[in-house]
């Protein structure tokens, strides 16, 4: 069965520092992979997605993620974090092939220190 693991429940970084949020998935074929961000009082917003092709995906707000099949990972990165990036980040996997169900990880809450 599909599953998504986000090993870090909380991460704290200083403003201007680099960021990497980890996501590992379990799925037999190449999955559809997503990163969403949820700010307080806001709905989830898609940061980026991977379906096929180039394994380094660029998203909004300066985020990028790299799909590594050998490691079953899809880690989210940002070279320099801004205070406004403080939020909860969710990784999700879809089965593809027309399957619409997404499996979400439990989320990583990011705190940014001034």
């Amino acid at each position: 069965a599909q599953s998504v693991t986000q090993p870090d429940i909380h991460i704290t970084v200083s403003e201007g520092a680099s960021l990497e949020l980890r996501c590992n998935y379990s799925y037999g074929a190449t999955p559809y992979l997503f990163w969403y961000v949820q700010s307080p009082g806001q709905g989830l917003q898609l940061l980026l997605k991977y379906f096929s092709g180039d394994t380094l995906v660029q998203g909004i707000k300066g985020f990028e993620a790299e799909f590594k099949r050998s490691q079953s990972s899809f880690n989210l990165r940002k070279p320099s974090v801004h205070w406004s990036d403080a939020a909860e980040y969710f990784c999700a996997v879809g089965a593809g092939g027309g399957t619409y169900k997404y499996i979400f990880g439990t989320g990583t809450r990011l705190k940014v220190l001034a």
Binding site: Y32, G43, Q45, F90, A92, Y100, K101, T106
Partner: protein, 114 residues
């Protein structure tokens, strides 16, 4: 245009009462999803509507949960005889209908069952 809207934003109810949650999808989106987000957990798929096809109800946790959607418009999620374990944020999302299409999320309804 407007995003996905949900109402009410917050709902407090007593155990045993019925509640109805509403979702207005983005105009033109044929697919609509309901998810549940319990405190500290990821999103849990509940139900999926696609156009006029029969909905996929496989994620509904019990027969106390039901949902309706008329055509490609508003959807309501009804929880009968609410229990304390139903307390969660209920999120609605809509998309153009396939797994490759981005799901756009509403801000959610926070339900508290006393």
């Amino acid at each position: 245009g407007a995003g996905v809207s949900q109402s009410p934003s917050n709902k407090v109810t007593e155990k045993g009462k019925d509640v109805e949650l509403r979702c207005d999808p983005i105009s033109g989106h044929t697919a609509l999803y309901w998810y549940r987000q319990r405190l500290g957990q990821g999103l849990e798929f509940l139900i999926y509507f696609q156009g006029n096809s029969a909905p996929d109800k496989s994620g509904l946790p019990s027969d106390r949960f039901s949902a309706e959607r008329t055509g490609e418009s508003v959807s309501t999620l009804t929880i009968q005889r609410t229990q304390q374990e139903d307390s969660a944020v209920y999120l609605c999302a809509s998309s153009y209908g396939t797994a490759q299409e981005t799901q756009y999320f509403g801000p959610g309804t926070r339900l508290l069952v006393l």
